[in-house]
Symmetry: C2
Subunit: 632 residues, 2 copies
C-alpha cells in the first residue's frame, strides 16, 4: 500500500504548497494548518490537535456572507463513525484528513424524515434527507424534492440557476440516485430513474401522463451546466411520450444541445459548459466502482474474537475507473467549468460510503471516504484561492458501521490500518446477506467561507438549504423571478408570414410552452423564441407563451395586415420590421410547478438572431398577478 | 408522562426567564435563544433550527480567555447516537435540549487509547479516555491518570488545586469510577476502588506496599473541596496499613476533617466546603439508581419488525434517589460551594448513560441523558450570570445504541416517544445478557465561555486538558508550584522543648512527610505544621520535611541550647519566640510523584495558631534544584 500512502502524501504536500502561496492574497482567512502527525501520541500533549489557543483563528474564520459560490460535498452515509473508521484506517487515529478535517467550523445536524401523515420518522434515508437540504422542506422516505403533500419544492440547484448562477451536480453514484436526484427532480419514488421504471412505478408522474417525467428526463429539463457521474444505463432507455418518444435519453440530450462525454480524455477536452451546451458526462452504466476492495465481513462463531481472521489491509480495486475520473478530478473539472462572474452552485456526492456500508464492506466504505476527502481538498483549495466560496462538507444520514474492541454477534471485518494496528469494524443492523441499515444519529456538518458560521452548533438538515441560499443572496421566490418576463413580437405582420416571438426574463422557467401548435422550447438564460406563422386572412393573432415551471403567461396581439411592412419571413433576420402599436395581455396560473407537457427542439442559432431583431420589436412586459410557487 | 414533560417545560421556562434577566449584565454574550419547537416540521422551513444568519451570534460567542472557572460536564458514553436517541425521545426529533444543545461552539474529538507497547487502540473505555482529558496524556485502557509507562500524570483537578482554585468532583456513579477517579487517582487498574481490591489486584500500589493506595484513599489525599456521588460501600472498607489501618475510610475521612453528608437534607445544610472541611457526600452504596426505567431490549425472531412489541414510553424509576439529589441539584450545590474569588474547577459526570447502554436499557440511558441535560442547564445558567466561566459538555467515548428503521438481529427496544412516534433503539454489539460494547467514533464536544473556541473543529480528547488548563491560566508545572515553599522554625529552642515548624507554599503537595518520627500531615492551602520535640542534650536539630507529591525537601537546623528563650512547648502558642539566626538547607528529589507513605492526622486548630506564631520564625526558603514533575 506504499504507493497509495505516497500518493496521498504528495497530494497533501501539493495542497500545502498551494495554500502557502495563496496566504495573504485573499480576504478570507487561510485554512488552519494541519498539525503534523505527532511523533508519539503516548507523550504528554503528544496527541493534541490544536496548535495553541484557537480563538483568534476561529474568529478569522467567521466571514459574513454573501458568498459568490457554494460547493456542497456530501458523504452519503458518512456519520461520525464512518469518518472515524476511515481516518483511523487511512491517516491513523491521531491523523487528520487534509480535506474533511480541515474545515474550521463544525456542528451537528439532525436528519429525521416525516411520514405521509406528518408524524416524524427517526430513521431516514437518502431521498428524504437530500430533499431536506435541497429544498428546506422535510419529506417522506423515498421521495425526492416533493413535500408531504407531494407538492414539488424548488431545489438549491434550481433556485441558483433561476438567479443566474451556473450549476453543477457531481456524484459517484448513478446521477439519478437520491442525492444528485434531489437537486434536479421532483418525484414520489426515488427509484423512477428512467421512463421504464416511471411508467411502471410512478405512472401518474410519467411524461405520457402529463407529469414531470422520470428523474433522468427531469434532469434534461433542468439543464444544469455540469452533470457528472454514473447512470449511463438509464440514458439508453427511450422516452415513451413527448417529442422524443422512441428516442433514447442520450439522443434527446444531444438533440437539446448537451455535450456528452464518457471517458477521461473527452472530459479533459471540454473547455466550456453553459446553458447552450451543458455538459453531461456519465462514466459508468451504474454506480462508479469503488476505489478499494477488501475482505468480506464475517460472522464470528460465538463472537469469539480469537476466531477473527488475521487483520489485513485494503487493496486497490482493479475495476476502478481510469485516471482522471476520480471524484476529486470531477470536482476539479466541474469547478473549472462553473467558475464565472455570476457565481455557481455545485453539489458533489461521494455516494458509496453508504452503499458499501449497506454491503458491510469496510474497505469499500473507507476508500470512498478517502475519495471524498480528496474532492474536499480540491474544493477547499479553490475556496481558499477565491475567498468568496462557501464549502460545506456533511452527510445525509448516519450509518451502521461501528468500531469495537471485540467481535460482535453480527458481521465483523478485521483490518490492519496504515499505522499497523488492528481495527474491528462491525456491522450489526442486518443479518449476513441483508442490507445493513442507516442509523438516525445526528451527523457532522463542517464549513469554510462566507456564511459557514451557520453550520456551528445544532442545526437541522433543512437549515443547510437556507444557509446556502442566504449566503448566495438568492431570491427563493421562483415565481417572482419569471414575473418580469417580457415577450417581444412584431406589431404588424403580413398575412401568412412567418415571424419570431422571443420571451426573455423567464429566469425560473426551464421550458416555455407556446399556444396552439407552437410546442415547447427550452429556456436558455431566461430566453426562448418561437417561429409563428400568421393566418392567411388579416386580423389580430394572439400569441400566448406559458412558463412551464412558474406558470407565468405572456401574451402578444399581433396585427395581421396586408399593409404591414415586408416581413423577414420565413426565417428571423437581423433586419427589424418597423415598429407599430400592438396590444398584449398577461396572466398567470396558480398552483404548483407546472408540467413540461410536449416540447420541441430549437435551433440555437435562430435564437441569437431573434434576440438581435427583438430590439426593435414591441416588448410586452407583464407582471404576475399570483404566485405559482412561493419559497420563503 | 405528562408531569415529566410539564416539569421539564417549567425548568426550561425558568432558565429562559433567568437568561432574559441577565442579558446585558455580563460581558459574555448571552446564550442563543432556543428556537421554539416548530409547529409543523413538514412545512417549508418548519424544521430549521437557526434563527436567521448566526454569524454575528457566533462571533459574540468567541470570548478570549482567561476564564476564572471551568465546569466540565461529561456524559459517559454519550456519543452522537446517544444524544439523538435521548433528544428524539424526550424533546422530539425537532426539539432541542435546553442544556446540551444550547452551547454555541461545537466540534468533535477523537477518543482512542494506546496500548502498553505504545501502539494505538481504536476502542477505548472510560478510564483511558477520562485520563486523556484529565491529564493531557493518552494511556492504556483500564488505567487512571498514569501514562503508558505507568508514571503518574497530574490531573486538571490537581493542577487547579495547586494553583489555588477550589475543586469539585461530582458523579452519578461510584465516585471511584473511571471518570471521577481519573481526576483524583493514579493507578494501573480502574477497579481498585478501595483497600480490599487494591490489596488483591493492585498490590504494588497499595498503601501497605508504600504505594499511592486505592482510588478512595487517593481521593482522601487529594482532598477536593467538594466530592459528591455514589460509592459509599467502598468507604466502609478499612485501611490495611498506614495511620488509619483498621479504620474505615469514612472514619479516616472524618479524622482528616471531611464533612460527611449522606442525604439531601444534610447536603442542603452545608454552607461551606473548603480545605479545612472538604465536603464528602456519597448518597448511594454503588451507582445512583437511574432516573427512568423501561422495557428490556429483546431479540426479535428473524429480526421481523412485525414481531416488535408495541412501542411504550419510559417511566419514572421508583428507586430514584430522593428529591434534591439529582445531578442538577448536586451540580447546583457544588457551584454554590465552589464559587470564590480564586476560581474553581468542577467536573460533573452523568455516568449511567454508559452503564445503561452497556445493559441495552434504552430508557435508563435516555433518562440519564435528560438528567445530564438539566445539570448542563444549571452550569450554563451560572456561566451566563458570571461571564467568566468556561462550560464544556462532551463524552468520554461513543457507545453502541443505534436508531434504526426496522428490527436488527440483536437486541431491540421499541419506544413511544414524547411526541407520540415509535422509535427502535438497537443494541447489536453483544449477545443478549452480555455487555454491549463501547464504540470508537469521534464524539461531540461543545463549549460556552472564555476559551470555548478551542472545542470547534476536530480536536483530540487530550486537547481538552490544555483547553481547560490554559483558559484558567494554570501553571501546569506542579513541582514549580511547591518550589518556593518555606519552612518556618524557631532558631533556638531549649533542650527537650516541643516546638512547631510550619511549611508554607507547598502548593502542589497534598501531604508532607517529616523526618524521623514526625509522620505526615495533610497540606491545607499549601501549609502544614509539625510539633517537634528537641533532644535532651544541646546541639543542632535538623528538621526535614518532604512534599509527598512533588518531593520538594525543606530543611531547618534548629539550635538546641540551654540559653534559648523560654519555649512555648509543649503546644504551639500565639506568642512567638524571639527570632535568632538559624541555618537551613534545601534539596529536592527527582522522579515521579512520590508516595504518601505513612501519615498522621493533625489537629486543625493547632495549625492556625502555628501560622500566627510563624510570623516571627525564621523562614527558610529553598528553590528546587530539579523537577520532580514536569508538565508542559
Amino acid at each position: 500500500m506504499k504507493h497509495r500512502t505516497a500518493r496521498r502524501m504528495r497530494a497533501a504536500l501539493a495542497l500545502t504548497a498551494t495554500s502557502a502561496a495563496l496566504v495573504g492574497l485573499v480576504g478570507l482567512a487561510a485554512l488552519p494548518a494541519s498539525a503534523a502527525t505527532p511523533d508519539d501520541v503516548t507523550e504528554h500533549g503528544g496527541a493534541t490537535r490544536n496548535d495553541g489557543d484557537m480563538t483568534e483563528m476561529l474568529r478569522e474564520s467567521l466571514v459574513d456572507g454573501p458568498a459568490k459560490n457554494v460547493i456542497l460535498l456530501i458523504g452519503d452515509g458518512m456519520g461520525d463513525s464512518e469518518i472515524t473508521v476511515a481516518r483511523n484506517y487511512a491517516e491513523g487515529a491521531g491523523g487528520r484528513f487534509a480535506g474533511i478535517d480541515a474545515l474550521p467550523l463544525t456542528g451537528s445536524y439532525t436528519t429525521y424524515a416525516v411520514n405521509a401523515d406528518g408524524s416524524v420518522n427517526y430513521a431516514s434515508e437518502s431521498a428524504s434527507t437530500a430533499s431536506g437540504w435541497s429544498t428546506g422542506t422535510k419529506t417522506v422516505n423515498g421521495r425526492l424534492s416533493v413535500d408531504v403533500d407531494l407538492d414539488p419544492q424548488a431545489t438549491l440547484l434550481e433556485i441558483a440557476k433561476a438567479n443566474g448562477l451556473k450549476t453543477g451536480n457531481v456524484s459517484t453514484a448513478e446521477i439519478q440516485d437520491a442525492t444528485p436526484g434531489a437537486e434536479i427532480a421532483h418525484i414520489s419514488k426515488r427509484g423512477c430513474f428512467g421512463p421504464v421504471k416511471t411508467t411502471a412505478d410512478c405512472s401518474s408522474e410519467s411524461v405520457e401522463a402529463g407529469g414531470l417525467g422520470s428523474i433522468s428526463e427531469q434532469l434534461l429539463n433542468v439543464r444544469p451546466d455540469v452533470t457528472l457521474g454514473g447512470g449511463a444505463a438509464t440514458f439508453e432507455e427511450s422516452a415513451v411520450a413527448g417529442p422524443w418518444a422512441g428516442k433514447t435519453l442520450f439522443e434527446q440530450a444531444s438533440d437539446r444541445g448537451y455535450q456528452r462525454v464518457d471517458n477521461a480524455a473527452e472530459l479533459a477536452a471540454v473547455t466550456t459548459a453553459d446553458a447552450d451546451q451543458p455538459l453531461l458526462g456519465l462514466f459508468s452504466l451504474g454506480n462508479f466502482p469503488t476505489r478499494w476492495v477488501g475482505p468480506d465481513a464475517t460472522d464470528i462463531p460465538d463472537a469469539d474474537s480469537t476466531k477473527l481472521p488475521a487483520p489485513v489491509a485494503c487493496t486497490e480495486n482493479p475495476e476502478r475507473l481510469e485516471t482522471g475520473l476520480s471524484l476529486a478530478d470531477l470536482t476539479d473539472k466541474a469547478i473549472d467549468l462553473l467558475d464565472n462572474d455570476n457565481g455557481f452552485f455545485l453539489q458533489v456526492e461521494g455516494a458509496s460510503i453508504d452503499k458499501q456500508d449497506h454491503a458491510a464492506n469496510a474497505c469499500g466504505q473507507i476508500g470512498e471516504t478517502v475519495d471524498l476527502d480528496e474532492a474536499v481538498q480540491v474544493a477547499l483549495e479553490y475556496a481558499e484561492t477565491k475567498g468568496d466560496t462557501l464549502v460545506v462538507v456533511t452527510a445525509d444520514h448516519a450509518h451502521t458501521s461501528q468500531i469495537v474492541g471485540s467481535a460482535i454477534p453480527g458481521l465483523n471485518t478485521h483490518l490492519l490500518t496504515e499505522e499497523g494496528a488492528p481495527m474491528i469494524v462491525a456491522y450489526g443492523t442486518s443479518a449476513a446477506g441483508g442490507s445493513q441499515q442507516h442509523t438516525g444519529a445526528q451527523v457532522r456538518i463542517a464549513g469554510y467561507g462566507p456564511g459557514a458560521a451557520n453550520v456551528v452548533g445544532l442545526t437541522d438538515q433543512t437549515d443547510l438549504f437556507f444557509t446556502s441560499a442566504n449566503t448566495l443572496g438568492l431570491n427563493q421566490d421562483l415565481a417572482s423571478l419569471s414575473a418580469a418576463a417580457t415577450l417581444a413580437a412584431p406589431t404588424e405582420v403580413l398575412p401568412g408570414a412567418t415571424y419570431t416571438v422571443t420571451a426573455s426574463g423567464l429566469n425560473a422557467d426551464w421550458q416555455v410552452r407556446g399556444s396552439d401548435d407552437l410546442g415547447q422550447q427550452d429556456v436558455l438564460r431566461g430566453t426562448a423564441s418561437f417561429q409563428v406563422t400568421a393566418p392567411a386572412e388579416p386580423g389580430t393573432q394572439t400569441v400566448t407563451l406559458t412558463g412551464a415551471q412558474t406558470g407565468v403567461v405572456l401574451t402578444a396581439d399581433v396585427s395581421v395586415s396586408a399593409a404591414a411592412p415586408v416581413d423577414p419571413a420565413p426565417t428571423a433576420s437581423a433586419t427589424p420590421p418597423a415598429a407599430a402599436a400592438g396590444s398584449g395581455s398577461g396572466s398567470s396560473s396558480t398552483g404548483s410547478l407546472a408540467t413540461t407537457g410536449t416540447s420541441v427542439p430549437f435551433a440555437l442559432g435562430g435564437i441569437a438572431l431573434a434576440l438581435v431583431a427583438g430590439g426593435a420589436y414591441l416588448v410586452i412586459r407583464r407582471h404576475r398577478r399570483g404566485h405559482a410557487l412561493s419559497h420563503n
